[in-house]
Each structure stands twice: as C-alpha cells, then as structure tokens.
C-alpha cells in the first residue's frame, strides 16, 4: 500500500468518525460506582432506563471495584484532570471528598443551577444531613442508603421458642436457648459500622467533638473511649467465649455465610443486604431493629445512614453538569427510588418514594424491607445526625485490628480502646493538616 492511499484512508476514516460523533448529539456523562454483583446489575438497569427516557444525555456507569478502590481511582483521575462526572463515595470517605474544597460541585448548587426543584425536606430525616456541609447544604446526593438491622431465621427462633430481641438485655436472655436449639445465636458483619458508629447513634452518645466532626476537621477528637461501649465489648467477648456469638474476622461475607446457610439464628447486617438474602436463603427470615442497651438509653434512638452518596466532580462544562442534575432528578423520582429500594433493599431516600412503597403494599408483602427506613426515622437526638472524620478508612482499620485483639485475647477491652482513641486522634490531627 502506498503512502498516499494510506493517508487518504486515514483522512476518510477521521471524517467518518467526526460525522458519526456529530450525528450523536447527546452529552456524555460518566458515573464511577462500586456496586458489584446484583447491585451492579440494578445500577446498569437504572442507567439504561434513564438513557431511554430522554435523548439529551447519555449516562455511562463504570464499575470501579470496592468503595476504597473507587475513591482512590477518582482521586487519581481528578489529579490527572480526567475525573468522571459522578463518583460514588462511601460514608467513611465523605470527610475526604467534602474536606477537599473545590473537588466537587454540591448537589444542591448543581440542581439549582440547572433550574431543577430542590427542597432538602423532601428527603427522609435520617438521610438529609449526612452528606451535608457545616451550613446544612447538601453536597453529596445520597444514593445507596442503608443502616444496620438484625436479621433472624424464623424457623430457628420458633424452634427455640423465643422472640427476636429488642434490646441486648433480651438477647442475653434468649441466646442460651438458641444455642441449645443447635444454632450459633448471633453473628455480625462490620464491627466499626455496627458495633461502634451505630452503637453511638442508637444510644445518642457523642462520637466526636465539634458536633461529631461536622464543625470542621480542626481540633476534632474521637469520643470512642467511653464506658457504655467498653461494657458492650466486654459483653460481646463474654458471649464469644460462651459460644453465644461467633466471629469470622473482618470479611463481610465470612460472617454472613453462617446465617445464609442456616447455622446462625441471627445476623447483624445491612438493610441493603435484603435483596441478596432473598435470593440466597431457602428459609423464612425477617428483620428487626438493631438492639440497644436499655441500661444506657431508655428507648434507643435512630441509627446513622450508611452506604454511599453520589458526588458531582468539579471542572466539568455546564452542559454535562446539567445532565448530572437531570439524572439526579430522575434518580430521586419516587418511581426510580421505589425500583431501587425493591430490588436491593437500600432505603428510599425521599418521603415521596417511601409513601409510594407503602401505597403499593410492598411492606405488607415483605415486612422486613421496611425495618431499615423505620429505624432511620426513629426519634433522634443531638448525636444521631451523622459523623464526619478524616482518614476515617484508617480509623476503621485501627478499630478492626483492636477488636480482633480483644476477641483473640491479645488485648483487654480497656487497652484496645485506649489504643483506638490514641491512634484515631493522631490520624485526625494529621488529617486536619492536610487542608494546608
């Protein structure tokens, strides 16, 4: 092939490529997420439905691995100027992305600039301010919102002749009966999330200074070293030693498996696990609220929202930002929220979607599906809005390490919490310096 024909072909191909993009007028918007397995399928379905619903914007979801991997990929891309339009960031990474002033366009601004309706009171109470800034402006759009709840195997509880526990005191009374009936009474899947962060919110205990860290990173200190949680962990260690509780390490699935296979009678997991459990289990299960210590708080308050939110990364043209706003409006519409809620078990984030699910009779068919949202809308207290701490992924790693030491007998509860407090405060101090 001569040089001339090659060149001619290249020119022709380039011309063809340009015309084909020109005829395809939709604005392209990318969305990096961390939803694998069944959740990923639902994300793809929502995106496909959104693209089919209009022809101005073309949304492309990209799976980036775990929450941590997605955030790291987003940071690397941002520094290289190649950031996606939307990135899904989990609760523990919220301080990092919100703390980086200029990395994201607040969801509230985005929607208002695009001329869309926005009223923070449309969102359910537990979700409203978790991803907001100091002034209550919504920065991240809550997406997959979950909260820890107690799942129980109905067959197992009937066999032992017991009722699901509302409090830890009740758990102590029924656990030996479940053990006698041949079950592991309880497992759980995330010690920092369920037995630490939500332990604080369930009992309305302060988790950090500076209003749980919302008033800024400067001088924020963790308040994890308190008698209530130390008493709790002493009890959990006792239960572990008496085979009333089992622990299979830090992996989520390792702890879920015994419940799924009918060996464990009860499991503390995410309300978002509901959809997966429905598919994986062969027995009847139901769910109830996360237990609390009646000796610490009379009634128990609402739990924190967990899961992740969507952040619109800055440095994008207005047309693309408008598409993101348009997608946010679509995503928060009652129908889409209900679809997401039904398929996954994550809670609907708006009051309208919750009402739609109620009207449709979803909770009569699956009473357990309502537990998460009911728990999030329980009466709250001063400390149940959320928490905001930097380098929180590492703080969680410190907690996991020290809890592992408590359970293996390497450290006493007292020593472990001293270490968590000391190392967490060191990390928080370091984080406060990162903003320069």
């Amino acid at each position: 092939m001569s040089y001339r024909t090659t060149a001619a072909r290249i020119v022709a191909f380039a011309a063809l490529a340009t015309t084909s993009t020109a005829s395809f007028a939709a604005t392209e918007v990318s969305w990096w997420h961390a939803m694998g397995g069944r959740l990923g399928e639902v994300v793809n379905e929502i995106s496909a439905n959104y693209n089919a619903s209009q022809d101005v914007c073309q949304l492309t979801p990209v799976y980036k691995g775990t929450y941590e991997e997605t955030l790291t990929a987003g940071i690397a891309a941002f520094r290289a100027g190649e950031q996606p339009n939307i990135i899904q960031v989990f609760d523990a990474g919220a301080a990092t992305i919100i703390g980086a002033k200029g990395a994201v366009t607040p969801a509230e601004d985005l929607l208002k600039d695009a001329g869309a309706d926005f009223d923070i009171n449309d969102y359910i109470a537990g979700v409203r301010y978790f991803y907001a800034d100091t002034n209550g402006k919504m920065i991240g759009m809550p997406f997959n919102s979950s909260t820890p709840i107690l799942y129980y195997n109905e067959e197992a509880l009937n066999k032992a002749g017991v009722q699901p526990p509302k409090t830890w005191e009740e758990f102590e009374a029924i656990a030996p009966k479940l053990k006698e009936a041949g079950y592991i009474p309880l497992t759980q899947s995330h010690l920092p999330w369920i037995f630490t962060e939500n332990f604080m919110s369930r009992h309305d205990l302060p988790f950090a200074t500076n209003a749980n860290g919302y008033e800024g990173a400067e001088g924020t200190e963790i308040l994890v070293n308190n008698d209530a949680i130390k008493a709790h962990f002493s009890k959990v260690k006792e239960w572990l030693d008496q085979d009333l509780f089992a622990w299979y390490g830090t992996g989520w699935a390792d702890n879920q498996k015994p419940f799924q296979e009918g060996e464990a009678a009860m499991w503390l997991g995410s309300s978002g696990s509901f959809g997966g459990l429905m598919k994986a289990t062969e027995f009847d299960f139901s769910a109830t609220y996360l237990p609390y210590w009646a000796s610490v708080h009379e009634t128990g308050t609402n739990t924190f929202i967990g899961g992740a939110a969507l952040f619109a990364m800055s440095g994008k043209p207005k047309a693309e930002n408008d598409c993101v706003a348009n997608f946010y409006s679509y995503l928060t519409s009652p129908e889409v929220q209900y679809f997401w809620h039904k398929e996954t078990g994550y809670v609907p984030i708006t009051n309208a979607a919750y009402e739609l699910a109620q009207q449709d009779g979803h909770y009569e068919r699956f009473p357990a599906a309502e537990i998460g949202i009911q728990q999030l809308t329980l009466p709250g207290g001063e400390n149940t809005k959320g928490y905001r701490m930097g380098f929180y992924v590492q703080i969680r790693d410190v907690m996991n390490r020290e809890y592992g030491k408590i359970f293996s007998g390497e450290a006493s509860v007292e020593e472990a919490f001293d270490t968590i407090e000391e190392e967490s405060n060191k990390l928080l101090g370091r984080f406060a310096k990162t903003s320069g």
Partner: protein, 293 residues
Amino acid sequence: MKRVQFANPLMPYMLLLPQLVIVAVFFLWPAAEAVRASFYLEDPFGFGATFVGFDNFTDALSSSDYGRTARFTLGFTAVTAFFSLAIALLLAVKADSVIRGASSYRTLLMWVYAIAPPVAGLIGVMLFDQHIGPLSEMARFLGWDMQIGVNYYDTAFAMVVISVWKQVPINFIFFLSGLQSVPKSVQEAAAIDCRSGTRRFWTVTFPLLAPTGFFLLIINITYALFDTFGIIDLVLKGEPGNNPVTLVYKVFLDGFRGNDLGGSSAQSVILMILVFVLTVVQFRMIERRVHYN
C-alpha cells in the same frame, strides 16, 4: 587485549540513553516525588498541603503497629526465603538423581511456575478458606482450630505456605540446572574419596552450587519482601483487620486505601533505605564467600 573504542565519543551515551530514560521516568522521578511527599501532609485531591518536616517519619516509626509490621515482615521474609530454597534444593537433588522418567518428574515439579500469581493466590485462598477450605478442614480434623482471617498466626501460616508453594518451582529450575552443571569428573573423583552421599553433597556439590544459591537468595528475599503483595492481598480479601501485613502492603493500605499520601510516602522512603542497605550488605558481605570458579 585491544580496547574497543567508539569512533564518536557520544555514541556510547546515545546507546545508553533509552535505558537511562526508562530508569529516570519510572524510577528516579517517582522516587524523588515520594521523598518530597514524605515531608508534607497533603490533601489527596491536591488542594492543600502542610510542610511537616520529619513528622511523617517519626509518626510511622513511633507507632506500635509499625513495629509489629516490621517484625512480621522480617520473620515472614526469613521463613519464606528459607523454605522456598530448602524445599526446592531437596526436590532438585532428588529429581537430579532420578533416572527413569526424569523429564516427567521435572515437568510436574515445574508446573506451578506456569500459574499466574493471582490465580495461585486465589487457589491458595480457597484451600485455606475458613468455611469451605479443605486444608482448614484437615487442620480441624487434626485438632488445630485453624481460622484464617481471625487468628494472627493462622493467617501468617497460610501466607507463608502459599508464598513458598508459588516460589519453589522457580528455585527448583535454577537448582536443577545448577546441579547439572556440576562437572561429572568432580563428582566421580569425590565418589572415590568418600562413600557418604550426604557428605559428598555438603562438601563438594553444595559449594559448587553457591553462585546459584546466592543469586536465588537475593531473588527470594526480594520476592518475599515485595512480590508476595498479591498473595497477601488475596488472603486478607482487602480487609487487614488484626492480620499480619508486610511493610510493602502497609504502604499500599495507608496510601491507596487510606489516602494518607504523606504517611505512605514516608514509609516507602524507609523501605527504599532498607533495600539499599540490604543490597550493599548482600554484595559486600555474602558475595565474598561465594566462589564463582
């Protein structure tokens, strides 16, 4: 001897240039960047940074967890390198003396080498899984309540076994070729002098294998320190918890999981110094005792 000279004095530098560019772009530049970052506490998105001097280094070195990680890394490297070499040497000596079906034995022993490291790691993780792993079940049958991911030492045990298993074939190939290059005449002369096969091995064959052994020692220490990363990641399933990690894995955890760029850079600078010292020690101290001819 005639010295070869280039006609153009610039020519040798031109020939070296591609290699030097690669070293500069992929090693020197990132290394310099790591040294710079180790003196700052930086917002991961790059919006702000505070110069903190040696704080990142003192924070890392004074934390009890860093000491624990360093001790584990040392032990893990020693044990992994030792068993990888010892088992490979034993297998090579035995395979070398097999006469019938020698090539099938050799092929089978090298087989694992063909498996990609992540796949090998995954197979190992499945064998040791605390719910369904046959090796864990066998351990429980023998009265050892093995729980990978829960018990620190059980997890360490699994990491060592998988790492050694993956490394033995490479060592085996080198040892076998080393053994085959030991001159027949030397072996026969030794056989006349000494009847004991074991003694002949330690006094004649082993010293002649020393160059291969030294090379493999360096390769294996590097392997245990750095290349076991994938295996460790797979065993931990991304959640370190109260499990052993190596220093390299900790750099990854703090930097890429925790987004603590300053702290992670400081740790990688410490590792760079460590590797530098190790290299000097290896070549200065050990190589003197190795006879190449």
